[in-house]
């Protein structure tokens, strides 16, 4: 799609709504898009007012979720500044924040983590937004509170809680292109001491096929279901119980064509979460939380010939996490709080590609002091210590400060350490590609397996002294710096944040031995050092609280430091496309890491007409060109690569009309201009039209 078209449309839209807007008479009961007393819990694990927090935070409200008509978490995250979901080299999708890949972003529901990643990516389309109160995103390292995986940021999904003694609920049904059906039911009630809520969602889609000339569909048909039941019980004003059970399951058709022979089967996912928490306010000073969490994630896939019933491939993945945690907050005086916590993590994973079930155990303690040494200055100091059974212990400190320069302007900055423990795959993988003949071994099993291959006479060469592999693999780690300022006055809000994240010990594969078939045996090692740096900017302006414009922009440079050194030394080459001769490259030819767009931007208009119970919004999201992989064999993305994906913008539109305060009819279109890139972006389906009816009581 032509970007110009988008802007013309936006212009017409804006013009139209502005003129429209002037004809309106003002009403006072209009709903502001953003609440003034926004509070979030993710940044400090205590309730904190958003505006005074010293960290870069994005808050997505329920109002925004409802008005935009999105149904899955990935859709709404893609509309936030500096946050996109991308498919990496493995083909699996995950979220990228400040240029940091999905492997390094922690996803929480009500403060407890989700497990079940595919090649490091957690698929956010797994999460329906039907019972979400708000989504909190804290950017930058937060390992000081959350431990492993919280390098790039933390996304915390907060679910809805019961409001009052009446039975409340909503029932909705949405029909969309590609024969997509999405239905929700929400029920909740808060009696005297007992509160409860129940939520169910079902989503079906026929999928789509971007390349009908090839066999199989781009996305195969699928069905999924989400159930969530919650119980709230107040034993007293001081002791409160929260219990939640969630189950998600998906069935998707799977097929594979090998030399015109078809194999088909099912790809299934089952996820269960059980979360129990007691909030105990011991006295005015002490507040305690006792938490127990269990989650299980299972994935399985089978492909077999429909004619002969021969099984082509079968894989299973079964991961469990058990985590008891206790937290205590001591309030010295208002706004001076010390939070401490301790917990135990037990994880295990059984997979087709592991010899046996593998187990991780870790223990941790953390502390955080949140205080105002001076009325205008807020400091948060925190640290966490993780002791782990399989890799070196980690100490993760973090410091952040917010200074209220004036009523309208605040300056904020933070420095934090983040880490990601080597995952099960990096430690225990044992996989040989039967078609090509290479082998990938987890770090902890590499010595044994290589010796096994050696005694079987399958190796010609061992490339490293195996004793080098006896040192444990180190955790990947980063230091993140954020420095920003916020301005809020009247109808105008501005936020600017400069960021830099320095990563070291990134784990990647390297060849450790050579097989007699000429192929390599790979294993994992700590070697890469990368950085991501740039700035993000958000601006919003609202007229009369009816018409709101918001705009966001992120500039990003994400590069590999080792590659930069090699480029400086003239050790990186490419081929001239005309002569095919080798030329030496320098840093000006280096584009950066794959899947990173230098520019991402969004522009949104929300328009409310309270007297008509009507609202409309249009959101445009742009990302500039990015590279998919190194296509010319020199290990970097450079100006001579032809593996770039053109920049593009997507426009999403939604209209809402409420009747009798109870029924809402929604119409809309995602990817309004039907942008597609069949070759490079299989996840982009083209225009999706939808209509939704919601009944609220």
């Amino acid at each position: 799609m032509d970007l110009n078209k988008v802007f013309i449309l936006v212009f017409i839209g804006v013009l139209g709504t502005s003129i429209f807007g002037q004809e309106m008479t003002m009403e006072n009961d209009s709903i502001p898009i953003e609440d003034l007393d926004e509070v979030i819990v993710t940044a400090t694990r205590t309730l904190r007012q958003l505006s005074s927090l010293p960290l870069p935070v994005t808050l997505i409200s329920k109002t925004q979720l409802q008005k935009t008509g999105v149904i899955r978490l990935d859709e709404i995250l893609n509309e936030q500044t500096g946050i996109i979901t991308v498919a990496d080299e493995s083909g699996f999708e995950g979220v990228q924040i400040q240029g940091i890949a999905s492997d390094y972003v922690l996803i929480l529901i009500n403060g407890v983590p989700l497990v079940g990643r595919s090649a490091g990516n957690l698929d956010l389309s797994r999460l329906t937004i039907g019972n979400i109160k708000q989504i909190e995103i804290v950017k930058g390292p937060s390992s000081s509170l959350y431990g492993s995986e919280a390098l790039g940021g933390v996304i915390n999904i907060i679910t809805e809680t019961p409001k009052d003694g009446d039975l409340h609920g909503d029932i909705s049904y949405r029909f969309a292109s590609f024969n997509t059906h999405d239905a929700n039911i929400n029920l909740s009630q808060k009696l005297d001491k007992l509160g409860y809520s129940f939520f169910a969602n079902t989503l079906h889609s026929d999928g789509y096929d971007l390349q009908p000339e090839t066999q199989g569909q781009t996305v195969s048909p699928f069905n999924n279901y989400t159930f969530n039941g919650q119980v709230f019980y107040d034993f007293s004003n001081r002791l409160k119980l929260f219990a939640s059970g969630r189950h998600y399951q998906q069935q998707q058709q799977a097929d594979l064509f090998v030399n015109d022979e078809m194999f088909e089967g099912d790809s299934d996912i089952d996820e269960t979460n059980a979360h129990l928490r007691f909030n105990h306010k011991a006295n005015d000073k002490w507040a305690l939380e006792y938490e127990f969490y269990y989650t299980n994630y299972k994935a399985s896939e089978i492909l077999q010939s429909p004619i002969t019933d021969d099984v082509f491939s079968q894989s299973n993945f079964d991961q469990n996490l058990v985590r008891p945690e206790i937290r205590a907050t001591y309030t010295f005086k208002p706004k001076h709080a010390l939070t401490t916590g301790a917990g135990y993590n037990h994880e295990n994973l059984d997979s087709t590609f592991f010899d046996e079930k593998v187990v991780f155990d870790s223990q941790y303690v953390f502390a955080q002091y949140d205080f105002f040494p001076w009325e205008k200055l807020n400091l948060i100091l925190g640290a966490r210590f993780d002791n782990h059974s399989e890799y070196q212990s980690q100490f993760s400190p973090k410091a952040s400060a917010n200074f209220q320069l004036s009523e309208a302007i605040s300056v904020k900055g933070s420095i934090g350490y983040g880490f990601k423990a080597p995952d099960f795959r990096q430690l225990y993988f044992d996989f040989t590609n039967s078609a090509v003949g290479y082998t990938v071994l987890g770090y902890n099993v590499a010595i044994e397996k290589v010796q096994e291959l050696e005694t079987q006479g399958q190796l010609t060469d061992i490339l490293f002294d195996l004793s080098e592999l006896e040192e444990p693999l180190e955790a990947e780690s980063s230091i993140g710096y954020n420095l920003g300022a916020g301005y809020a006055m009247g109808n105008v809000k501005l936020n600017l944040n400069f960021f830099r994240n320095d990563f070291k010990n990134l784990i990647d594969t390297r060849a450790i031995a050579r097989r007699t078939n000429g192929q390599n045996v790979f294993s994992y090692a700590n070697f890469d050092r990368i950085y991501t740096t740039g700035f993000e900017m958000d601006a919003s302006y609202s007229f009369n609280k009816q018409l709101t414009f918001t705009a966001g922009y992120q500039l990003l440079y994400a590069k590999d430091k080792e590659k930069k050194v090699a480029l400086e030394r003239g050790e990186v080459f490419a081929r001239d496309p005309q002569t095919l001769q080798t030329i030496a490259l320098d840093n000006s030819d280096y584009f950066g890491l794959v899947n990173r767009s230098r520019h991402t931007a969004n522009f949104k208009v929300f328009y409310d007409v309270p007297q008509w119970d009507f609202n409309i919004n249009i959101r445009i999201n742009y990302r500039s060109k990015y590279g998919l992989f190194d296509g010319n064999g020199n290990g970097i993305l450079d100006d001579f690569d032809t593996t770039f994906v053109d920049g593009y913008a997507l426009a999403n539109l939604a209209l809402n009309k409420t009747f009798s305060k109870k029924y809402t009819l929604q119409l809309g279109a995602n990817n309004l201009f039907d942008y597609k890139d069949e070759e490079n972006i299989p996840g982009l389906a083209g225009i999706l039209l939808f209509t939704k009816i919601n009944f609220k009581f």
Partner: protein, 212 residues
């Protein structure tokens, strides 16, 4: 003063005469050859995508003639699929390989083609029962293999094969393409593979190592 000038003139003339006569006594040095070999076929039997063992004769190439040769002795390097043999050392154990009867050797250098100017500083490896002098396998020797989405064998940019020929002369070689007619962006599904195109520089003078 005049005598002095005359004396130097004579001396100079005499010197020039002597130098010239000295040169005339030796053979004229041969020019270093800089050429491109195109579409050298390197067929093989078996191997991917079949499960049959790799086989078939190697295509032998001689730098002195600048052409493919069927000679059992007058060859320097030989191609079969992505495998490159040199006429020096011993049999590697693969099927249908040519007999090594020369003193050829190879070193895989890193740099632009022009930056490799002399063969003197390299240590040359020979084929042996532990493998080929030019390592086989993706990323090990001269090429890498990208299975997805293009299924292409690409010569690694910056890899220059520095070679000693079967009769002890020196050459350097840069592989440009593994596909017929050297398309700039080969398509592994459509373009015909196992056709080498390479630039080479060959110094035909005995004992000379310069390669420019």
């Amino acid at each position: 003063m005049k005598i002095m000038i005359k004396f130097f003139t004579i001396l100079f003339v005499a010197f020039v005469f002597v130098s010239c006569s000295d040169d005339d006594n030796g053979p004229e040095p041969l020019a270093v050859e800089s050429k491109t070999a195109t579409n050298i076929p390197a067929p093989q039997t078996g191997g991917q995508p079949t499960s049959d063992p790799i086989g078939g004769p190697f295509t032998k190439f001689s730098f002195s003639t600048g052409a493919v040769t069927t000679s059992e002795t007058e060859w320097d390097i030989a191609f079969r699929g992505t495998t490159i043999a040199v006429n020096g050392g011993a049999a590697t154990g693969t099927n249908d390989e040519p007999e090594r009867n020369g003193e050829a050797g190879a070193f895989v250098a890193t740099g632009t083609f022009a930056s490799i100017t002399d063969a003197a500083s390299y240590t040359f490896a020979q084929d042996s029962d532990s493998g080929f002098a030019i390592l086989t396998g993706s990323d090990n020797g001269w090429y890498n293999y990208t299975p997805f989405p293009v299924n292409v064998i690409s010569p690694i940019p910056g890899r220059v094969l520095v070679l000693r020929t079967h009769d002890g002369k020196y050459a350097k070689l840069e592989i440009l393409s593994y596909y017929r007619d050297a398309p700039a962006e080969p398509d592994g599904m459509a373009d015909e593979a196992r056709f080498y195109t390479f630039n080479y520089v060959y110094n035909p003078n005995e004992g000379q190592t310069t390669l420019e």
